[in-house]
């Protein structure tokens, strides 16, 4: 069905089998029909049916019967046949859900002519709020990845040509287990229906055991909650409810699964302007420089060994300030106190207003337990508090015991068959585990890619992409979402994991799940019995309920909060158990998920591989980050990073050894090496294979990410490192401006008038004299504001722009050559202050894109007039006129123009071209390109306004891709000719400044100065 439900004109589709055109569509159809056919086409047939009409009606009804008797087809109709609901040229938006492990985030997917072309966040979904992450956006590219496996394969050389054959083989393998057990290994997920299906499968199959072993394991938070609070799982924190946040190696704005929501809630409480000006204070204590640390109002480097001691000191201080002697056993279990001075100061701030401590899940159970103990004292846990028991990730319990059981079974050689359901332990697991797995006689892979694990299996069954699969998800707040497919599986032999398990169940037991022929039926039936029956009486029929949820993408309901009971002695034991870092060696290696490729499952994705790391700006690699002091200690300091080469070090411990390029990163604690997971894939596809090194291989037996002791030696070679930014110093230039919340409150705006514009008095905002006539913007005049205070540098905008505007990826070699194509780049500068020296500088991220200058230097130098000024203030690029002199690029003071040095688009392998947005031209080589302010979206908004009989677009109707994706809502876009628009008001803010205002190019992007809350809260 096809309902225009929202003011944005998004069309939410429910299901194909019950399609009705909207009244508008009907009107259009009727109109075209009346033009197309003779006048009285619609006239009623003459009464009295003659023989010919009778025969006609008879055959038609026969045909209808044949069609109508079919079970409703739930698959998306391919565009070979014109589907009724698609209007060629007009996009439809469908809601679905994306799962990052067990964190479900609602999506709206734009579909053009039956193929998904753009992923956006669902604004009704609390994990998204309309925003998205880089990975969410980029998952579209994985859908069209040519490296996904097409067919079932590998059975002792024999071809398994069909899914059925392959499943038959699997079923036989399970049935011939002879009393030994069969293991199904799965990743984390948030789907109640899948969980139910798996448990039904376990009931139906004797000896089937299930273990959840995600690639990325971080049990610290769940274990700590289990010990101290009696709740085995993870909280989803509402940062808008905290006034003072102490983040201890927690990257909640960066690599956290819920970062999209976290960035939004964090930004909500950091609004230095307006009537309700308020800013929370972020104190970051961390060993690696993270995006969270970059936002910190105060940042302290800490060695991982000192974390528990530091948290113990904070706990002790908070208790003493609160005159409480609770958790004294935890304090003593935490061992020697570290950084007591900071601990005292931070404790004072934490108790002054609503304090909150967040500890990275990878930081281990001891640190997390101490953090939660402080939160208990700060009353940060509870209903309406930052850590609300009603807001937890589903199925986020600790996986320690499941893994122990699997190990025991492997050790006793009691496993006949093992099924890997889209997990990849041969890539991510400890070598002892993967060696034990290799002993299992029968190994079967259900996987999207021919992975490291799938390569070791006897049977391989291709799994469909999330956008091709039915499913559902439970959200962190208890609400539920339906995952609906946007396209039928591109590989016709693949099926969703749910479908595969269902089919397998039916092979094992004929009446498995009764008459439910597909996973779609399973999900639907589940919803009918589980949710509709209990909580959705508002809907008369289940169909109406189902339709509504599919349209909205979410069914809001409140589920019971988890119950908490504090157990101090368990907490103390947990603290005591985990204060030591495992492994042998002189250095501590910190392993966290990559900002770009995450746990590595999405690694075969050019967009993500080429997304510059938020901190290092490195693409296509993971490196070992160290402080200058550590590099000196290793004898590898003084390497010129601008030359894009780095010395390679061999990092080894008892678990394994990898070689990584050494990269000096200011702000990393001394003695620490920091790297990320997700790289070092060897068997997945041409994009990710042999990119970087596999950091999982150094992790301890538990497989948990975090800290390990390692020894480091110089490997004596150099490795090319592709960074997109080689200079990090502002050189005293006022490109990025900063102020403090204190100054804003005191109306001290001096900072922003410091830019000297020739011929203009101090404080004068008038424009310098110009020999050319001013543009007369009669209609709209587009402009953008970017709030540097909100931006955390997550990179969602970069990928959103890439997806929306068909921007090519160019590969590592071309990035080294300086030819990356991103229209939106995130410039990152370090700032040293008297308080924070070069070893712990502040960091500022500045999104940089075409400034759409009114006095654009690029426009007058183009000899063929390929770049021109539009009547609405856009700096337009006419690709087919461009001959590629590159003068515009040279003359752009912001260097935001991108030249197609090679035919990057021709190098794409099919079917990747289907990911392209049909509304945007694909550029050939020799042509310049750059940000267009998403001119195609502006046009669509205009058409909408015109259809609605309006001459102008209203504020908020035209949304650029970067603005839409931004989790921090840092970007405002609109028409400055409308004085009431958000963008027109925003640029009047005292924090507003123009980059390079002094050269009089008159940019249309106003940046709002970065504000830090530097005054301690007392």
């Amino acid at each position: 069905m096809f309902h225009d439900t929202s003011s944005e004109g998004r069309t939410y589709w429910k299901s194909v089998d019950e399609i009705h055109p909207t009244p508008e569509t009907q009107a259009v159809l009727a109109k075209s029909r009346s033009n197309e056919f003779p006048e009285n086409y619609d006239a009623a047939p003459p009464s009295g049916v003659n023989r010919r009409t009778f025969m006609g009606l008879l055959s038609a009804s026969m045909a209808l019967t044949a069609v109508g008797c079919r079970r409703p087809d739930h698959k998306i109709i391919s565009t070979v046949r014109q589907a009724e609901y698609t209007s060629p040229g007009l996009p439809n938006y469908y809601s679905t859900v994306y799962s990052n492990g067990n964190a479900a985030i609602g999506l709206l997917v734009k579909v053009r002519e039956g193929r998904p072309t753009k992923i956006e966040g669902n604004d009704l979904h609390p994990a998204s709020n309309g925003a998205s992450s880089a990975q969410m956006q980029a998952s579209l590219l994985n859908l069209y990845d040519p490296d996904r496996v097409l067919k079932p394969a590998r059975s002792g050389g024999k071809s398994l040509s069909t899914l059925d054959n392959a499943l038959e083989t699997v079923a036989k393998a399970i049935q011939s287990a002879n009393g030994k057990s069969v293991y199904l290994l799965m990743g984390e997920h948030a789907s109640p229906s899948l969980a139910k299906l798996v448990s039904e499968l376990q009931t139906a199959t004797s000896g089937l055991k299930v273990a959840i072993i995600p690639d990325l394991v971080a049990n610290g938070a769940a274990e700590a909650n289990k010990a101290l609070l009696g709740f085995d799982g993870e909280f989803v924190v509402d940062y808008s409810k905290a006034d003072v946040i102490l983040s201890v190696d927690a990257d909640f704005l960066g690599s956290d699964k819920m970062s999209v929501r976290n960035i939004r809630t964090f930004a909500q409480n950091r609004k230095p302007h307006g009537e309700h000006a308020h800013m929370s204070r972020l104190l970051a204590v961390e060993s690696n420089y993270t995006l969270t640390g970059a936002q910190a109002d105060k940042r302290v480097r800490i060695s991982p060994e000192e974390i528990t001691g530091f948290l113990g000191a904070v706990l002790a201080e908070v208790s003493s300030l609160k005159s409480s002697n609770r958790f004294s056993s935890l304090v003593s279990a935490a061992g020697a106190a570290y950084k007591t001075e900071e601990a005292k100061a931070f404790a004072k701030e934490l108790i002054a207003k609503q304090g909150l401590v967040v500890v990275g899940a990878h930081a281990g159970v001891a640190a997390n337990t101490l953090g939660q103990a402080i939160n208990v004292l700060l009353e940060a846990i509870g209903e309406g508090k930052p850590m609300d028991p009603a807001h937890t990730l589903p199925m986020s319990n600790s996986k320690v015991s499941e893994l122990a059981k699997l190990r025991a079974d492997l050790a006793s050689k009691n496993i006949a068959t093992i099924i890997y359901a889209d997990v990849n332990p041969y890539y991510s697991a400890h070598k002892e585990l993967s060696e034990a797995l290799a002993q299992v006689p029968n190994q079967i892979a259900f996987s999207q890619y021919d992975t490291e694990t799938a390569a070791k299996c006897t049977v391989f069954i291709p799994v469909a992409h999330g956008l091709e699969s039915w499913g559902d998800a439970k959200n962190f707040d208890g609400s539920l979402s339906i995952q609906q497919p946007l396209i039928s599986p591109l590989n016709t032999s693949s099926a969703s994991l749910g479908d595969i398990l269902l089919m397998l169940g039916k092979k094992l037991k004929a009446d498995f799940y009764g008459d439910k022929a597909s996973y779609y039926d399973v999900v639907r039936a589940n919803w009918e019995t589980e949710w509709h029956a209990v909580g959705s009486q508002a809907f008369q029929s289940f169909d109406a309920f189902w339709e509504q949820v599919m349209r909205d993408g979410i069914w809001k309901r409140t589920s019971g909060a988890v119950s908490l009971s504090i157990n101090e002695s368990n907490g103390a034991a947990a603290v005591a158990s985990g204060t030591k870092i495992s492994g042998k060696g002189d250095y501590t290696l910190l392993i966290t998920p990559s900002y770009a490729v995450g746990d590595g499952s999405m690694a075969n994705n050019g967009w993500l591989q080429e997304l510059p790391d938020g901190i290092t700006k490195i693409t296509w690699d993971n490196v070992a980050l160290v402080s200058q002091a550590t590099a000196q200690k290793l004898g590898l300091a003084g390497i010129d990073q601008t030359k894009m080469k780095a010395p390679v070090v061999k990092i080894s411990n008892e678990n394994g050894s990898i070689e990584l390029p050494l990269w000096v990163q200011p702000g990393v604690a001394d003695g620490v090496l920091a790297t990320v997971t997700g790289y070092g894939r060897t068997h997945v596809g041409v994009v990710a294979d042999n990119v970087g090194a596999n950091a999982y291989s150094l992790l301890g037996a538990s497989g948990e990410i975090g800290y390990v002791k390692v020894s480091v030696e110089n490997a004596g070679k150099m490795h090319p490192v592709a960074t997109t930014q080689q200079h990090h110093d502002l050189m005293g230039r006022k490109i990025v401006q900063e102020t403090t919340f204190e100054k804003i409150k005191n109306h001290d705006h001096e900072l922003f008038e410091a830019v000297h514009v020739p011929g203009r008095a101090h404080g004068d905002k008038s424009l310098p004299y110009s020999i050319t006539a001013k543009y007369d913007y009669k209609g709209h005049r587009w402009a953008m504001n970017i709030d540097l205070s909100a931006c955390v540098g997550c990179g969602a905008c970069v990928i959103a722009c890439q997806s929306e505007n068909n921007i090519s990826t160019v590969g590592k070699e071309q990035v080294i050559n300086g030819r990356e194509m991103h229209w939106m780049r995130l410039d990152r500068y370090y700032v040293s202050t008297s308080e924070r020296g070069a070893d712990n500088p502040e960091m500022i991220t500045q999104p940089m894109l075409c400034q759409h200058c009114e006095n654009a230097p690029c426009e007058n130098v183009c000899p063929v007039a390929a770049t021109t000024h539009s009547p609405e203030g856009l700096n337009e690029m006419t690709y087919n006129r461009c001959v590629g002199t590159r003068y515009c690029l040279n003359n752009c003071p912001y260097k935001v123009r991108r030249f197609n040095f090679l035919n990057y688009n021709k190098e794409k392998r099919s079917p990747i071209e289907f990911s392209a947005n049909p509304e945007v031209t694909v550029r050939m080589r020799g042509v310049m390109e750059k940000c267009t302010f998403c001119v195609q979206r502006l046009h669509q908004a205009k058409w909408k306004a015109k259809d609605a009989g309006r001459a102008r677009i209203q504020d908020g109707e035209a949304v650029t891709a970067c603005q839409q994706a931004c989790p921090a809502a840092a970007i405002t876009f609109g028409d400055v000719n409308d004085p009431n628009s958000a963008v027109a008001k925003g640029r009047e803010d005292h924090r507003g400044f123009l980059v390079l205002e002094e050269i009089n190019v008159r940019p249309q992007i106003t940046y709002l100065a970065k504000v830090r809350n530097t005054t301690p809260i007392a």
Partner: protein, 477 residues
Amino acid sequence: METVEQTKVAGGRAHTAPKEVLREPLALGSPTLSDITNKIAGIVEQKPTAKFMMALAASAALAGWGVACIAYTIAVGIGVWGLNNPLGWGWDITNFVFWVGIGHAGTLISAVLYLFRQKWRTAINRAAEAMTIFAVICALLFPLIHTGRPWLAAYWLTPYPNQMQMWTNFRSPLEWDVFAVGTYFTVSLMFWFTGLVPDLATIRNRMKEGTISHKVYTFFSLGWTGSMRNWHHYEIAYMILAAVSTPLVLSVHSIVSFDFAVSVLPGWHTTIFPPYFVAGAIFSGFAMVLTLMIIAREVLDLHQFITLKHIDNMNKIILTTGMIVGYAYAMEFFIAWYGANPYERFVFINRATGDYAWSYWSMIFCNVISPQFFWSAKLRRNIPLTFILSIFVNIGMWFERFTIISTTLHHDFLPASWGYYSPTWVEISIFAGTFGLFLTLFLLFTKYVPIIAIAEVKGVLPGNQPTHHHDDHAHAH
């Protein structure tokens, strides 16, 4: 008059000149008119030597390699060069400006010195003009092949009427370049050819009738008979073309400098560029003329016509223009300091101390320091030193353009977008290929066209000028 002195010259005609203005002769050994014709036309008429053929083969091979690399670039894309995001230009535009600059000496010698009655120009003007044309051909390659889509740039850069009313952007300095360099090439070619007509006719007259070469020379000598009427028209045409060419000496390189000066970039956006570029162009042009003429003088045994006086004069010009260029370098730094623009100040400090400092100091050494030898009259007449320094000057002037382009682009306003550039083998090959092309054309020129203007040299021989004879009161003009 008491200071009049009688001079005997071959041919027996008397010539008188005031003693204090008596100058060094422009052709040594007192050649007769037929000596000159035989000597210079002989070069054209003799069979090509083995050395010549080897030199031609080598330069043609180099040119061919360059053409192959150009074809490769057009087929694959500019990505085969080393250019990148902050550096949209590199060796391509460096080479363009370098070759255009070299072309300047030709016009200066043939037009400006002609109008100023500098008779010493006659021995070198023909070769200098040829060099101009060949250098501009090499230069014109780059604006075309440096574009991303040269198959479109080839005609979209010219304003032509079309149904879409799509004109070129007349505000763009690149468009001005099209006109400036195009005009320069056309006028230079006409000027050169006009000067050639009498000499081509001389060769024609010496050829055996009926041969193909006779027909070709007949065609290009445009029916020249050597009549008074012919000479009369010729002199007027030559004078007009010289007058038309003269402003071009200033305009072409001024406009080329606008490619940089019109931009907003620190290090480019400066008003000193037009005079500084013109001086630099003359500087490099004279150096190139010297390089070529010293070789031709030795190889073709032209000591008689290209004398030390010529070399001395050219070295003086090199010294002068070198000083102008050096002054411009210093003034750029002064203004960068005086103007207090932090971006500009940074660019100049970076120019001398940054990633491309090696290029900057090579430029200073070659362009400012090396010509200082020419303060000495003795060294100005030292052929080996002149030859070496002329090559230094050309290297230095290439580095000047490279320094200007790379230092400004690689570190401009936003430090986040800074980069670095080095050329690939393709760019180096194309540059080498233009030398191959230049030398090929020049070698062919020495073989098929009199490399010294026969008629003009005859004109500067003592006694061949209209003279006022004081002992004979009849006016003998």
